[in-house]
Symmetry: D2
Subunit: 254 residues, 4 copies
């Protein structure tokens, strides 16, 4: 059986590129995204055309048992999940408190926080039995500071960060490596940033801020760091790392 890298949240941005990176190293990558079967198929095809092995399915993390079932399915039918990437965003744009509905706030928590907790619940016992495993968690500036309009996102992402710290405190010594990766800036990702901005604005942003001066984070470059962290020797593990474009200021300066 081939070792598996499960990517929850694998569109054309960070998730998809991390999947490609791990596929190139011999992992069977299993891709999950909420919608867009065509996009999913396209990504699988690209990986296979590059001599990789990939499969996947649509998955809505907020559905009951969705994450749990897919983990059990993979472990039974494909192989042991050696690496899991939790790459579900919960950014809903800047919204004043009064425009942030109870439902949106709860949804943010279900996606950003509770989903990761559930993944850890179903996956860590398996990793503990195998005495090995890696969980890479994509996170955002909002995990470390609240801001105007970010009440839902920041609250959910900070919850995510504390899950990672609590998991490390419990599972690092059992040889399970959890990393909290703070992406501090806009990623050049058509499926998320692109949809939020609309095609025309996104293209304009890419041409000005992005291509010109690498002002958007390039997801295939971010993927290199994900791969590196997953390869770190256990004497020298990283728990938290930040990543941003050279042309941006760090969050504590902007």
């Amino acid at each position: 059986m081939k070792k598996v890298c499960l990517v929850i949240g694998s569109g054309a941005g960070v998730g998809g590129n991390v999947a490609k990176r791990f596929a190139r190293e011999g992992f069977h990558v299993y891709l999950c995204r909420r919608t867009d079967q065509d996009g999913l198929n396209k990504l699988i095809n690209e990986i296979e055309a590059d001599d990789g092995v990939a499969s996947g399915s649509l998955l809505n993390v907020i559905d009951e048992n969705s994450i749990e079932d897919i983990v059990n399915h993979i472990e039974k039918e494909i192989g042991p999940i050696e690496v899991a990437v939790y790459n579900i965003g919960a950014q809903i744009g800047n919204r004043d408190l009064k425009d942030t509905s109870y439902k949106a706030f709860e949804m943010g928590w279900r996606m950003a926080t509770f989903g990761l907790f559930r993944l850890a619940q179903v996956l860590t016992p398996l990793m503990e039995e195998r005495k090995s495993g890696t969980i890479l968690v994509t996170s955002a500036t909002s995990a470390v500071r609240g801001n105007k309009g970010q009440i839902s996102h920041a609250s959910a992402m900070a919850g995510r960060r504390m899950i990672c710290q609590s998991l490390n405190a419990e599972f690092a010594s059992k040889n399970i490596h959890i990393a909290h990766i703070i992406i501090d800036g806009a990623v050049d990702a058509p499926d998320t940033l692109g949809k939020m901005l609309g095609e025309e604005n996104f293209q304009k942003l890419r041409e000005t801020k992005g291509m010109e001066n690498d002002g958007l984070l390039v997801p295939e470059k971010i993927a290199e760091t994900y791969w590196h962290i997953a390869q770190q020797h256990r004497s020298s593990w990283t728990h938290e790392i930040d990543i941003r474009s050279f042309s941006d200021q760090a969050w504590w300066n902007t």
Copy 2:
């Protein structure tokens, strides 16, 4: 109409003592706690015996509309809520991941995080209209670092902290002061710590760590700092403060 101080979570620890402190300054204090009508009555009686004005009701913050209804009731029947104290804890003791049920994790979020969000939703429009208001939020070490056994508590409290930061970013300039108060240690509180430890162990702890050397935080002393923060001039507001016993190490040293 008298100005009101609403205390959500007012047992015999921090909440009750903050209530007494504000009552002594002329506030009508409105007390809410989840259970124990007798305890609630006792606290009201003590405040009245001290020439204060108090009323209250049992309130389960996780019930739909519970917080919203009580705020509207107070504003209509008693007076404007000038100060609200959100003092709901969500500590469930140290539990390994596998012993932290989905239900417990969600409950932690509903109490520690979502409840404060709902309070802000219903209260800030009223405060904004009055161009004045204070929200004092009790928090814990878990808001700033995860730990073994604290996955539910840390995740929920970090969410609480980011709510406070996001509220300040949106509402400080509208003259609404939100303070995130990190209580970094065990409070000498019979209703929470006492129940968690059992009467005998609690009494033993008080006699050794507590009375002997002030190693438990004394809630009536903490209340002085709550009062101070609520009185700060708006040119000089505190957003975050930590409080611990002189005989304890700070969380970053233990």
Copy 3:
């Protein structure tokens, strides 16, 4: 003998106002500033006119033995220093790296960092013997994040913050309370901000940002929080607190 409050760095801003606050509570306040004997005399006269007791002398903290000698002088001639306020700033305005001379960088460290270390060296043995004491340390945003143009200031202030944390870890349990007070904004202080901006610009800033909307921190209001921290019961001590104007964004948002 009267108990003494020593204020190192007592111009017309935070230092002078903290001095007045403690004088009103019965302390003999001893005032030190680097230059301006007239300003020093004026402050002493104001305190005495308000029925307080004050004395003082010019003191350059970077001079060898300056701090050590003054502490010993006060302890011998006036009374035990119950409270010390270290209020020496080291802001030199925004300077690019190339415009920050070795001398300026070292000077920043001598004033902001080394001076506090020396004060602690000479004062803590006396406080330890008396089993009591408080050291209040004024600090700045730069203590918690670096920024363009702030390399000298940030480096020195972060060093100051770690001194405070290390002192608390060693001396809190000996009943010596050290507090690190982050003033996150511009203070309405003629001796520092005023001199940096020039009289005309300072007056303009006061009239627009300051008086109009309390956008400058008012030092006599800040002094209330210094007094409060010095009065906290030892079961409930604050190690770190931030203070900013209601109309400003917190440093993590700007």
Copy 4:
């Protein structure tokens, strides 16, 4: 001319292993350490035996012009310094305040803080002209929290951290990448830890905590992460990262 990697502080631990890693990638590595010409020669020989190119010299960073002269010498005689590694420690073991002399405190600052400032002063103009460069800064837990006995180390390392943040804010957009690398644990390094503990105790520690369970950070593994950071694409730079053994708790938990 070959591109150069300058390693200031290159004993048999992190510095030496980072040097070897960069030599394997084709850099001319220039090694500096304070003492032990034999150790320096041995490292150069090892690198050359591995087909690398290395040279070096003894360097005491606290000596006037020492860093400045060596940088100018390398740039003139060997080649452009593409990467500089500042790997000077300043740990002096746990010392109470009263046992930390003024001289030791100042020495800590000269080594940990001022030396990096001087390196940046002499190197960044050259890198700015070349529109390219990387400065990797080894740091320690003490950079983010003070502790009993660590007043000198913590104060100096926190200053170091703020230098890094300030440099990034000024130079990242000029394509100069500065990374602050927090090594949160004991490194298996004979030249530093070994000398601090004595040979026998060090060997015992290696055999128990180290080899058995990778409880000491293995410097050649750490070097992989240094190399990775130096290779990050400029759209995806890391400013801060932590590294610790899987079997240790993070600093915020211990």
